[in-house]
């Protein structure tokens, strides 16, 4: 009954125009199962606190979020506040779709942000702050303890004793030999050639001394198709050929559902599913050291941005500072399984505080996270890299030529846009 009532309210709010009345804020948020309870809470507590002052918040989850933002950008129908995926911020800021928010945020909050989160939100040579995420994320190897033990594989517990690439290869071979294991490693090929391929696979490259673009000269040639990257992807391709990697069409649940995979390389968002699926068998393993740079974890995530068309800045300021308050940041983390983005919120979090189950994540975020390139060409960069990774991992293609093509695509795009001024000038 409550549910029906709630859907009626949601329907009614959806039907209302998203254009702001004074004192009425609309925020578009991603439509994910794990985030849903947090946003419900955000709207309720915000309205309880500020409703009396005449500011009300309307949080609207939007399915097919990226397409929706694109359509809204074209039609000029963006709300007061939107969510963006961190690495796309530069592209949107360059296009002039969003405005800087450094002046809106409380300086104390800015001060308190994790360094990688701050880097993620800082755009351009002028180093202006455009985007703030309430959480940080990371990738990790999730293991099935029973299987690992049965196969006689050493289980690393900290960044310092992480597997090397060779060690991980041996572990996979041993695990593959177990009768109950179909494919030992799930790297979420089922996510398709999207952002995951950059988020999840560029850390391997960076660990081996590579990257997806040169962050000084902003050219891809010589970096994305470097020997180090060829080496990294060739290893992954070999693992796939050896039958170690769960194929795309096998579905999402080989690790936590059917339990025919022993390891899963994926981010925090799978925590609830993994915890529920494996219970005490679940073990968190630091990312493997693919090369000299040691273990690297992905980072960043979705966060808040303010469209240029947004004029109700006084109220937006109230909202941003509320959404980024320590309590809210901690609540976001606890609901979704992500790492809080404020240093002061980490102790507040049940999971990530000292001795919490997610302590490893918090440590990774502090020591080993590399921000994805903050550059307007990022959508093209990630698309080119993702296509290459998916191709390499779904067949017997030549790694070098895939990466050469990616380099060409990226450099051509940057040239087509005159180097994305003021970058490259």
């Amino acid at each position: 009954m409550n549910r029906i009532l709630y859907s009626g309210v949601a329907l009614a709010t959806c039907m209302m125009s998203s254009h702001a009345l004074a004192g009425q804020l609309t925020a578009w948020v991603i439509d994910g199962d794990s985030e849903k309870p947090y946003f419900t809470q955000l709207q309720e507590t915000f309205n309880a606190k500020y409703g009396a002052e005449g500011i009300t918040l309307n949080v609207v989850p939007i399915p097919s979020y990226n397409e929706a933002i694109q359509a809204a950008t074209l039609s000029g129908g963006l709300p007061d506040v939107i969510m963006l995926d961190g690495p796309n911020m530069a592209s949107v800021a360059w296009a002039g779709t969003i405005q800087p928010i450094g002046d809106l945020l409380d300086p104390a909050i800015l001060e308190d942000l994790l360094p990688a989160i701050k880097a993620q939100g800082t755009y351009g040579p002028q180093e202006e702050f455009y985007f703030v995420s309430p959480y940080d994320s990371g990738t990790i190897l999730w293991g099935n303890k029973a299987m690992l033990e049965k196969a006689g594989v050493r289980i690393p517990t900290s960044v310092d004793d992480a597997w090397t690439r060779a060690e991980m290869g041996e572990a996979l071979a041993k695990l593959a030999a177990l009768p109950e294991v179909e494919w030992p490693l799930d790297v979420k090929m089922n996510y398709g050639a999207g952002e995951w391929m950059t988020y999840g696979f560029s850390p391997f490259a960076q660990s081996n001394g590579g990257d997806i673009i040169d962050r000084q000269t902003w050219t891809a040639e010589g970096t994305i198709n470097s020997d180090a990257n060829v080496d990294t992807l060739t290893t992954l391709q070999d693992w796939n050929k050896a039958g170690y990697i769960v194929p795309a069409s096998a579905g999402d649940n080989k690790f936590y559902g059917e339990k025919t995979a022993a390891l899963s390389w994926v981010g925090n968002w799978m925590w609830p599913a993994h915890r529920e699926g494996l219970g005490d068998d679940l073990v968190l393993i630091p990312p493997p050291a693919f090369g000299e740079a040691g273990p690297i974890s992905a980072n960043g995530g979705w966060g808040w941005a303010v469209p240029s068309s947004s004029s109700n800045l006084a109220d937006v300021k109230v909202f941003l500072n509320y959404a980024m308050s320590s309590e809210q940041v901690a609540a976001y983390a606890d609901t979704t399984g992500y790492v809080p983005s404020r240093a002061s919120a980490i102790p507040l979090s049940k999971t990530y505080g000292e001795g919490g189950a997610g302590e490893l994540f918090a440590k990774l975020a502090a020591c080993c996270a590399v921000v994805r390139p903050v550059h307007p060409a990022y959508p093209v960069i990630t698309n080119a890299w993702a296509t290459a990774v998916v191709n390499v991992l779904s067949g017997d293609v030549d790694v070098k030529s895939e990466l050469d093509r990616a380099a060409k695509t990226i450099d051509q795009d940057i040239a087509d846009n005159d180097g994305y001024p003021p970058f490259g000038q």
Binding site: D33, E67, K188, G251
Partner: protein
């Protein structure tokens, strides 16, 4: 029971194979949609159990219908509104133009007809990007009209009406002129009442096309306000963990109005699809 002769046995066998080929996947859709247990769905996929319902739970349906983020009723209303508006406008405007082209006296009929035939060759898919930009320039993105109007511009529909109207007996039109009908009245009182078969043909084909439209609505809508069902459905694939029970319940819910529409119009539907191209 009917007595079967030997000649009918083989075709009947084939017909049964055909029916099974069509029905088995659909039975699987229904079976999965009735199973509230995702784990069980996963395990049973591939076995006989995924084709014959073991449990009859409406839980997936209730979840789909009452999901506050994906307001099913709203999507359904959007889809219905878009579909029927497009149909009505398209049939009205296109039949009217086709009647002028087929029976009128305007000297520009010939160049217009050539234009229509030429646009038939333009694949609609190659036009969506400029159409999207035009919608952006006009500030029409994310609205009902942006999903309705492009469906009204339908050269195929004009062409089918044209074929029908040019085969109307000439004497009937002339009798009407002697009776004192104006050109529009001939269209309205003589041509249209006679066009029921071709109207239902075009209506059904366009109904399916719009009801199931995917590409254009994905591009021009941003949220539940104006989104149709087909796009809402694909959003279920976007989340990392596909909830098969819900997807299938959504699929069944979306298919049922179409199947009902078809059952009501079954005779015209078959007749109309059959006449939609061949005889031209």
């Amino acid at each position: 029971m009917m007595r079967l002769n030997r000649d009918a046995m083989l075709p009947l066998l084939f017909a049964l194979v055909l029916a099974l080929g069509v029905l088995l996947p659909l039975m699987m859709m229904v079976t999965i949609s009735l199973n509230p247990n995702e784990q069980d769905i996963m395990v049973s996929m591939g076995s006989l159990r995924s084709f014959i319902p073991q449990v009859f739970s409406l839980q997936n349906y209730i979840e789909v219908w009452t999901d506050p983020v994906h307001p099913f009723a709203r999507y359904l209303a959007n889809t219905a509104l878009i579909t029927f508006s497009t149909l009505i406008l398209s049939i009205f405007f296109n039949s009217m133009a086709a009647f002028v082209l087929a029976q009128g006296t305007l000297p520009i009929r010939k160049p217009v007809m050539i234009l229509i035939l030429a646009t038939l060759a333009v694949p609609g898919e190659s036009l969506v990007l400029p159409q999207l930009m035009m919608a952006g320039w006009l500030g029409q993105v994310d609205s009902y009209q942006v999903q309705i109007v492009p469906g009204v511009a339908n050269a195929m529909s004009i062409f089918l009406f044209y074929q029908f109207f040019s085969r109307l007996p000439k004497e009937l039109i002339e009798a009407a002129r002697i009776d004192g009908f104006s050109f529009f009245q001939i269209y309205r009182h003589v041509a249209m009442p006679l066009s029921k078969p071709v109207i239902s043909a075009i209506a059904v084909l366009q109904f399916l096309e719009i009801w199931n439209a995917y590409l254009w609505p994905v591009m021009v809508t941003r949220g539940p306000e104006y989104r149709p069902l087909s796009v809402a459905m694909s959003a279920y694939f976007g989340t990392n963990q596909a909830a098969w029970g819900n997807i299938m319940a959504f699929a069944v819910s979306m298919a049922i109005p179409v199947i009902l529409f078809f059952l009501i119009l079954q005779r015209q539907f078959i007749a109309s699809v059959m006449s939609s191209g061949v005889k031209g």
